[in-house]
């Protein structure tokens, strides 16, 4: 049986269907998980998709992190389960403390929906495992608060432990150290601002996101087998 990926839906999330269909393309069985769920029964991986959970009011992710499902996600992550936050999902992960740092407003103070190129800078994560280091991928960005920020000590830690998984080739938003995506120390929780699910079909311009999604599905399959 293929790996089961749960895609969390907060009120205001809007990329859930896209994420489900992209993961199915990548070989998973994907289902929606409503934010009030208190357990993740039988999932092999959890994805927090893009969108505007709770309208992004206050700060992106600030209210969503208190949803009941987030306790379950934290337990799942602590047990080593693969967790991926895309865009708004990345913001929820930093707000919840599952990943360090914060996502602040883009340098240009405007929303930015544009193609971007990212480079794989670490393969020690459930999202990049199996890819060749240095691989360049064309994956679009779509965010207002996508500029990654953390203090110097955190940045040193991220670098030293090889936890920056993706960097922009051309920094679109002012992210510190060109960071597009990071992972936790264990490599099982990953957040990134670009949208790999939007690069899952050449009909739409790029399929470069598929290797990332497949890597996550493979990691989930390992969980499943274990």
């Amino acid at each position: 049986m293929s790996a089961r990926v749960g895609v969390v839906v907060f009120p205001g999330t809007n990329c859930e269907h896209d994420t489900v269909s992209a993961f199915e393309r990548a070989g998973a069985t994907a289902t929606l998980v409503w934010h009030t769920e208190e357990r993740l029964g039988g999932l092999d991986a959890v994805v927090l998709p893009g969108g505007f959970a709770h309208g992004d009011y206050l700060r992106p992710g600030a209210i969503a992190r208190f949803s009941p499902v987030m306790d379950a996600v934290a337990r799942f992550a602590a047990a080593g389960g693969p967790v991926l936050g895309i865009c708004n999902g990345f913001q929820v992960l930093t707000e919840s403390g599952l990943l360090p740092g914060a996502l602040v407003k883009n340098r240009g103070l405007r929303f930015l929906c544009a193609p971007s190129r990212v480079r794989v800078t670490s393969v020690s994560s459930v999202l990049t495992c199996g890819l060749a280091p240095g691989t360049e991928l064309g994956i679009p960005v779509n965010h207002f608060s996508g500029s990654y920020f953390c203090d110097d000590r955190t940045l040193a830690e991220l670098r030293d432990a090889n936890r920056v998984v993706l960097r922009y080739v051309e920094n679109p938003n002012g992210s510190i150290d060109d960071i597009a995506g990071i992972t936790n120390a264990e490599g099982n929780v990953v957040g990134l601002m670009p949208h790999p699910e939007r690069a899952s079909d050449v009909l739409l311009g790029s399929a470069d996101g598929l290797p990332l999604l497949r890597a996550l599905v493979a990691a989930a399959a390992d969980v499943h087998a274990a």
Binding site: P11, F52, C113
Partner: protein, 783 residues
Amino acid sequence: MSSPDAGEPQPAPQLEPQPLPLHRALGLTDEELGRIVEILAREPNQLELALYGVMWSEHCSYKSSRRHLRRLPTTGDRVLVGPGENAGVIDAGDGIAVAIRIESHNHPSAIEPHQGAATGVGGILRDVFTMGARPLAVMDPLFFGPPDDARQRWLVEGVVAGISSYGNSVGVPTVGGELTFDPCYAGNPLVNVLCLGALPVDRLVLARATGAGNLAVLLGATTGRDGIGGVSVLASAGFSGGDDAKRPNVQVGDPFEEKRLIEACLALLDAGLVVGIQDLGGAGLACGTSELAARGGVGLDVDVLAVPRREPGMAPWEVMTSESQERMLAIVVPEAWPAVDALCRRWDVRASVIGTVTDDGSGVLPEATGHGDVGGSSSGRLRIFDGDAVVGDVPARSLADGAPVYDRPLREPADLASKRADDPTASEERGDCGVELRTMLLDPSWVYRQYDHQLFLNTVAGPGGDAALLRLAGPGLPPSDRGVAVTTDSAPRWCAIDPRAGVALVLAEAVANLACVGASPVAVVNCLNFGNPEHPEVMWQLSETVDGLAAACRAFGIPVIGGNVSLYNESTGSDILPTPVLGVLGLVERLRHRPPPVAVAEGASVVLLGCRRGPGDLPRPLGGSRWAVECRGRRHGELPPLDYGAHERVTGFVGSLVAEAVGGGAGAADGVAGQDLLDGVHDVSGGGLAVALAEMAVTGDIGVRVEGIDGHQELFTELPSRLLATTRYPDELCARAKEAGVPAEVIGVGGGDRFVVEELVDLPMHQLARSWVRSLADRLEPV
């Protein structure tokens, strides 16, 4: 005067009858008040007068334009719902229907650009999901004064940010639009928004109340004093800026509420829990209740006390006319209420029973000639309660359809002939064509980069191309291989010269835009933005536009399935240029590959398709062209002629080639397969060949060398029915064109790092690219 009631004479509800001139303050004329008294057979009270005031406003009743709009062709094989409902709907095949609608939010955006534009997006989305369709795409035709002063920049920034913040957050991609700068919009910007949605054909719902005893359920946001009087004050009165009295009416949009409302309403419809539903937009509950009742031919009792409020102390008339955003009114059978309530709770959407459908068909309207469509017809009564007390009681149809229809005087401008004679084609000398070309370049990406245009994974061609091309797919839709394409177009500079011919040229351009992505046109929606209808020249423009659009639609065989009229677009006494905006929907049978880009490719030949010369004395006319207006300040003259047959031949030819390419079929049995024949395609429109070629070169990031262009007139003319294609198989392309009766000539080749039109333009590509890329940023973000 006949009796308004079949039963007992009704005592006037308890509010005091108001002495004049309250009706005038509410925007009603003395004659209109007389008609109301005739309908009610008594003086209206203040609440009732407020209802008529908002519902009989120009914005809600179309009283100046209605008799003209009737001349538009509105039927066709695919039309499921034509004008008159919240959105037009066509049958797209495969069990999928497509709903489309366009609206203006001009006056609110002039006062508070961010919220005005944001609530415009919110409103158009509700129009579409009211029909049971999931909104899948938004487009935003925008018109401003030149962005060279702080106020215009504030307007542009604010409007774009408003559309961006609302559209992105609510989760509907904005896939294209228009951007026009002209001094006539400096005091009165235009913000039009179009929304396209799709639904399984069998989920189609119409906004009507039925079934006595059914419940009227208000869904969504609480009701505050937002936009009270907004309909009559903001939409019907001229706007001259800095008007403090109008300010408290500004509505603030909440895309998060709207997102939940969309999900809840579509879930309610999927579960078959509602029998009718209507969005609350302009005129709020007054409009929603009266239209639901009028269309269903039933009565409705509504209790304002049951309406959840945001503010204390609201009077019944305030509750009824509030334009608080993000609200819907659904009709529900009583047994379904618990399920409705539960489903709304899941989405955290407020749901309150505020009324009941009645079978009181006693609201017969008296005959009246020269008025609305309701003479003598039966109509349910709309009764408004404040708890137990009846505070208003009117025939629902008299609000919804009973406004007088005006035949306003119209007059051709006296100087029409002399203006037409003042043509720039022969009289303007050639200048530095390279410099002129560079000033005309306009890259709208500064705008559309702020919009999520990819959501739903449907956007095959987004903003930046000729038309947006989307997969016809979405949550809950049956699987399909089809695509939909949509484009918005306008050309006020043409319509100012000749509204009748101008609007036809606009439709022709839209058809060409669709051809570039392989789509055949199936339906038109229009937003008619005009000045003050009390000016006879403005009414003439409107009338000419309707006739021109009607003729063009008939010639192309495309029905008009919806529209919107925005009048009183004027500031400091002068009217805007006539600005009809068309949204045209096209279909692609099979969408498997990306269409050719708007680009030149290395080594590819540039082929000009279509006739290079117009007939008559001005074979390369410049009247009304961007070159004449923007480079020479010449706004008069003759428009280029439109030959419908030739236009259909060339757009049909290109459209079928591109359709072949995107459909990925076997292609021509012998020769080059469809998907290989075209490397790039683009229509020739604003700015003529010069701008079209430059856009293709810049997008392809490659130089081009073109020869044989016969002077600046051929370079800049906006003669219609011409398209550019780039191909590695020019002989094959020209041969196929010839077979289709389409003139085709190789005029150049891609390559190198210069943009060259022999004897006319020679620019390094980096310079051209810079002019293009910085065209907006340099003006909007001066350092």
